[in-house]
C-alpha cells in the first residue's frame, strides 16, 4: 500500500516541478536588474543576465534545471549567496522544530478543551472554548507574536531576546538531527537545551494559539457525535465509568477527523510560520522563501516549493498510515 501511494505521488511531483518553474519565470521582477545593484548600466545588467544564464531560451533553462535537479543540485540562491540545497538542509529543521512544537502546544490545549466542551455542551466551559478558539484564529500570527514579545520580553523581561534559535553568546550544538532541542541533549549539554527551549517558547506559543481553533472545534464536534452514538449509550447503560466512556470509547472513535484536521493544520502552520519567523528572526525556511520571492530569486523558490511538495506527500502518507493504526476498519477495507 505504501509503495503504491509513493508511486502515485510521482506525477504530482513532476507537475510541481513544471508549474513552479513556469510560475517563477512569470514573476514580474527581473533578477538581473535587481542583482546588478543600484548603479548598474544596461550593459552591466546584460552581463549579469548572461552570468546567471537567464539569456537562454526558457526550454534550455528548464532542461538545465531538471538535469541539475537529477544530481541533487537545486541551484544557488542569489539573495543569500548559498547553494539552495544547503540552505534548505540547515533551515528546514529550524522551521520543523518550531512548527512541531507549535502543534504540540496546540494539541495539548485544544484537544482537552474540545473534549471538555463536548461533554458539557453550552456550559461556561463550552463558551470559553468557543471564545478562545475564535480569538486565536482571528488574530494574525505576526500580531500575536509582536504582542507576546512586547509583554513577555519588553515589559516583563521573562522571555529571552527574540533573536532566533539561540542567544548570541551560545554556539549551536553539533548537528545530528538539526533540532537544537534533540542535538543539545545528544551532546549532553543541559544549559544549551534550556537556552534553545527558552527561545522556542514564544514563537511556539504564537503558532499554537493560531492553530487552536480548528483542532478544538473539530475535537468538540466529533466528540459530540461520538457521545451521542449508540455504543456510548450502551457503554453508559453498562455502568462504565465516565472516564472509560469518554476516553476509551468516544475519543478513540472521534480521533479520525481530528487526525485529518491535524494534517491540515500542520500544513497551514508551515505557511503561518513565514510571518512568525520574521517576527522572531527565526532562520527558517519560510523567511528564506519570502526573501527570495521579494528578490525574484528563482532557485530558492523552486527549491522551497519542491521541498514543501515532498513534505505534503510524506505527511499525507503518514496520516493514511495513522488511520490504519487508529481505525482497524481502514486497514481491513484496503
Amino acid at each position: 500500500m505504501i509503495g503504491k501511494r509513493l508511486l502515485a505521488a510521482i506525477p504530482s511531483l513532476i507537475g510541481v516541478i513544471i508549474v513552479t518553474f513556469l510560475l517563477t519565470r512569470a514573476l514580474p521582477g527581473d533578477p538581473a536588474a535587481y542583482f546588478a545593484g543600484p548603479a548598474a548600466t544596461k550593459e552591466a545588467i546584460e552581463q549579469i543576465r548572461i552570468k546567471l544564464g537567464l539569456d537562454k531560451p526558457l526550454y534550455l533553462q528548464f532542461m538545465r534545471y531538471v538535469a541539475d535537479l537529477g544530481r541533487g543540485d537545486l541551484g544557488n540562491s542569489l539573495t543569500t549567496g548559498q547553494p539552495v540545497a544547503e540552505e534548505i538542509k540547515t533551515r528546514l529543521p529550524a522551521s520543523a522544530e518550531l512548527t512541531l512544537l507549535g502543534l504540540i502546544v496546540s494539541i495539548a490545549i485544544a484537544v482537552p478543551l474540545g473534549i471538555v466542551a463536548a461533554t458539557r455542551p453550552n456550559s461556561v466551559i463550552d463558551h470559553c472554548c468557543r471564545v478562545i478558539s475564535t480569538a486565536g484564529v482571528s488574530l494574525p500570527v505576526f500580531f500575536t507574536g509582536l504582542i507576546l514579545v512586547y509583554v513577555f520580553y519588553y515589559l516583563l523581561g521573562w522571555a529571552p531576546a527574540p533573536l532566533g534559535r539561540l542567544d548570541v553568546f551560545f554556539s549551536p550544538p553539533p548537528q545530528v538531527t538539526g533540532f537544537y532541542l534533540i542535538d543539545s541533549l545528544i551532546a549532553g549539554n543541559g544549559e544549551l537545551f534550556l537556552a534553545a527551549l527558552k527561545q522556542l517558547i514564544l514563537p511556539a506559543l504564537t503558532l499554537g494559539i493560531f492553530s487552536l481553533a480548528p483542532i478544538a472545534r473539530m475535537t468538540r464536534a466529533s466528540m459530540l457525535a461520538a457521545l451521542a452514538s449508540d455504543f456510548v449509550r450502551t457503554a453508559r447503560a453498562s455502568g462504565l465509568t465516565p472516564f472509560t466512556i469518554v476516553v476509551t470509547y468516544a475519543f478513540r472513535n472521534a480521533m479520525l477527523p481530528v487526525i485529518t484536521t491535524l494534517g491540515m493544520v500542520f500544513s497551514f502552520l508551515l505557511g503561518a510560520n513565514v510571518l512568525v519567523e520574521k517576527v522572531f528572526a527565526w532562520p527558517g525556511i519560510g523567511s528564506f522563501a519570502v526573501e527570495a520571492l521579494i528578490a525574484s530569486d528563482f532557485a530558492p523558490l523552486q527549491g522551497f516549493v519542491l521541498t514543501m511538495a515532498v513534505m505534503y506527500v510524506a505527511l499525507n502518507l503518514l496520516i493514511d498510515i495513522l488511520y490504519g493504526v487508529i481505525d482497524p476498519r481502514v486497514r481491513i477495507e484496503s
Partner: protein, 540 residues
C-alpha cells in the same frame, strides 16, 4: 578564539560525562565575552562578502569595508554636532605608506610590514591583481571603477615589490578619490588564485564565502540571512588597532523587535529603524541617536519629460508648486531630513550640491501655471513608488496625490515591488514617481553626470536631455580636471540654476542616516557608503 577552543573542550568534557562541572566555568567566560563584543542588529544582511561578486548587496559592502584594506582612505573631521564625518579632500594612507600624485599617474609605496590574515606579506603584485580584478569582473565594481576613469588593467603597473603606479587614462579629478571607495580593495592574490577555476578565473566563488584580505576584521562565521560574526585581526597595520574584539551582526527583520532589543539593552547598535521610532527614541533619551544627511543624496519627485503632459515646462512648474513639501517633512519623515525646498527668493546659487530650490507649496500659482499650459481641467496620470521603501515613499505619494488633486491632476498610485523597481525605471516610461539617488563621490558634477546629462544614464530617470545642460556639466568636469576654479564655479552654478528652472525633477529633501546605539558605544563615523565602520568603534 580562546573561547571557541574552550567551548570545544567543554563540549568534549560534557560528552565524556563530566557535565556537572561545565556550566560553572562557562558563565564567567560568557560575561567577559559580552564586554568585548559589539552586537549589531539590522533588517537585512549580506548575500556575498566580496564586493567584486555578482550582485553583492549593500550590507555586503559593509563586510568588505571592514575586512579589506584599500591603498588610501579618508581622514575624519568632527561636525558641529560632534559626529565624526569623513573628510572628502583629505586622504590618509591605509595599505600605502606614501602616495605621490603626478601629472598623469599616482605612485603608491606599500607598508612593508603589511601582511594578509594568513601571514603572507602584501605585495605590489597583489594590489595589481586586485585592481585588475575590479576593472574586469563586470557589473557594479567595474562600473564604479569606470566612474573614476579606471577601466583598463594596463593602468596598474607594478614598479617593484612594494611600489605600484596607477596611470591616468585622462585628467579626471575623480580618479584618486575613486581609489578610496569600497571597490578597489586589496585581496590575497595567491590565496584566491588557488581557488580559481577556468570558469571562475577571479576566484569569486571562494571570496563570496571567505575573507582573504589584510583588513582589521575577518569573518569567522556567516549564516546568510541570520548572522555574521567577525573577529579582529590583531596584526592589522592599516590604522590603530580596533577596540572591539568581536562583532556579532544579527539579522532581525521586524523593526519593532529591533527597537525593543535596543531599549532593553540587548543590542548595541541598529541603523535602519523607521523614522518614527528614531524620533521617539531620541525623545526618550535612553539611547544615543545620531542623524546625518546622506552625502550627495536627494529624494525627489521625477517627471518623464519625453511624454506629454510633462514635456511641458509649465506643467512641471505647476507640479513643483503643488507638492506639499512641509507636510511631507512632518508626516512622512517626522522631521528627520534636511529640506531641499523653499529657498527665499533672491538667494544666490551656491557652488554646492545638494542645495534647496525656490519652489514652495502655492496652490493658486500652480493652478495658474497649469491653465497657462493648457490643462485648466487637469489630467490623469500615475504616481509610482518603490515598495521596498514603502515606509517613507507611501506617505509621500499619498500626500502628493492629495495635493495634486487640488489643481486637477488626478493620480493613481502605482506601487512597484522592490524587485521590479529598477527594471521599471530602466524602461523610462513612468510618468511621475518618487525616488532617491545618492553618489559615493561627493562632487556636484558627479551627481549631474548621472542624473541630468544627456547621455541618459539609468539615473536620468526623467530622460532629460538638453544641449545647454550637457555643455555646463562637461565644462565643470573639464575645469575640475585642470583645477580652473572660476570656470568650475561658474559651470556648477549654471547647471544648478538650469536644473531648477527646467524642473525635470523636483528635490524634496536630503535623507538622513539614522543610527541608534547604547550610550556606552562610541566611535561612530559617517562614511560616504553610509555603512558602519567597526574599526573606530568602542564599547564601555
Amino acid at each position: 578564539m580562546k573561547r571557541r577552543e574552550f567551548l570545544k573542550r567543554v563540549t568534549a568534557m560534557a560528552a565524556g560525562g563530566v557535565l556537572p562541572a561545565a556550566p560553572a566555568v562557562w558563565s564567567p567566560a560568557k560575561a567577559q565575552s559580552r564586554q568585548e563584543t559589539l552586537l549589531i542588529v539590522s533588517e537585512s544582511g549580506p548575500n556575498n562578502i566580496d564586493i567584486h561578486g555578482v550582485g553583492t548587496n549593500v550590507p555586503g559592502y559593509e563586510v568588505s569595508w571592514n575586512c579589506y584594506d584599500r591603498l588610501i582612505s579618508h581622514e575624519m573631521k568632527t561636525l558641529p554636532n560632534g559626529v565624526q564625518y569623513y573628510e572628502r579632500d583629505k586622504f590618509k594612507m591605509e595599505l600605502a605608506d606614501d602616495m605621490n600624485v603626478g601629472d598623469m599617474s599616482a605612485t603608491f609605496k606599500l607598508k612593508k610590514n603589511a601582511t594578509f590574515q594568513d601571514g603572507t606579506p602584501v605585495t605590489a603584485k597583489d594590489v595589481k591583481w586586485s585592481l585588475d580584478r575590479a576593472v574586469t569582473v563586470g557589473g557594479f565594481p567595474t562600473f564604479q571603477m569606470g566612474a573614476g576613469s579606471l577601466t583598463k588593467p594596463e593602468q596598474f603597473v607594478v614598479v617593484d615589490d612594494h611600489t605600484v603606479r596607477v596611470d591616468f587614462l585622462r585628467k579626471d579629478r575623480l580618479t584618486v578619490p575613486d581609489l578610496a571607495v569600497v571597490v578597489p580593495c586589496v585581496l590575497n592574490s595567491e590565496l584566491v588564485k588557488k581557488h580559481a577555476t577556468d570558469k571562475d578565473p577571479w576566484g569569486l566563488e571562494y571570496t563570496k564565502q571567505n575573507t582573504a584580505g589584510s583588513g582589521a576584521y575577518r569573518v569567522v562565521s556567516w549564516n546568510a540571512g541570520s548572522e555574521v560574526v567577525l573577529e579582529r585581526n590583531d596584526k592589522w597595520v592599516g590604522g590603530p588597532l580596533p577596540k572591539v574584539k568581536r562583532i556579532i551582526w544579527r539579522i532581525v527583520p521586524s523593526a519593532g523587535n529591533r527597537r525593543a532589543l535596543l531599549e532593553r539593552g540587548d543590542a548595541d547598535i541598529s541603523y535602519d529603524l523607521p523614522n518614527k521610532d528614531f524620533v521617539e527614541l531620541k525623545n526618550m533619551g535612553k539611547l544615543a541617536i545620531v542623524s546625518t544627511p546622506y552625502s550627495n543624496g536627494i529624494q525627489y519627485i521625477g517627471m518623464n519629460v519625453k511624454q506629454p503632459p510633462f514635456d511641458n515646462l509649465k506643467v512641471r512648474q505647476a507640479v513643483a508648486c503643488a507638492i506639499p513639501y512641509q507636510k511631507i517633512m512632518d508626516a512622512a519623515l517626522f522631521g528627520l531630513a534636511k529640506p531641499m525646498f523653499g529657498a527665499p527668493p533672491g538667494t544666490p546659487t551656491e557652488v554646492a550640491w545638494p542645495q534647496p530650490h525656490g519652489y514652495t507649496t502655492d496652490i493658486s500659482k500652480a493652478k495658474k501655471l497649469l491653465a497657462e499650459a493648457g490643462y485648466a481641467d487637469g489630467f490623469e496620470t500615475t504616481l509610482s513608488f518603490d515598495l521596498g521603501f514603502a515606509g517613507v515613499n507611501e506617505p509621500i505619494c499619498v500626500l502628493t496625490q492629495e495635493s495634486l488633486a487640488q489643481i486637477g491632476i488626478r493620480c493613481t498610485i502605482n506601487k512597484i515591488p522592490g524587485a521590479t523597481w529598477r527594471t521599471e525605471l530602466n524602461k523610462k516610461v513612468l510618468p511621475l514617481y518618487t525616488n532617491v539617488f545618492s553618489g559615493w563621490l561627493d562632487y556636484p558634477e558627479y551627481f549631474f553626470i548621472w542624473c541630468y546629462h544627456g547621455k541618459n544614464s539609468i539615473f536620468n530617470t526623467m530622460s532629460y536631455q538638453s544641449k545647454e545642460m550637457d555643455g555646463f556639466i562637461d565644462a565643470a568636469v573639464a575645469a575640475a580636471a585642470v583645477g580652473d576654479k572660476p570656470a568650475y564655479e561658474k559651470s556648477v552654478k549654471a547647471f544648478v540654476d538650469l536644473a531648477y528652472a527646467d524642473a525635470p525633477r523636483i528635490p524634496l529633501y536630503q535623507p538622513y542616516v539614522n543610527v541608534a546605539m547604547q550610550k556606552n558605544v562610541s566611535g561612530y563615523q559617517y562614511w560616504f557608503h553610509r555603512r558602519l565602520d567597526y574599526r573606530a568603534m568602542a564599547k564601555g
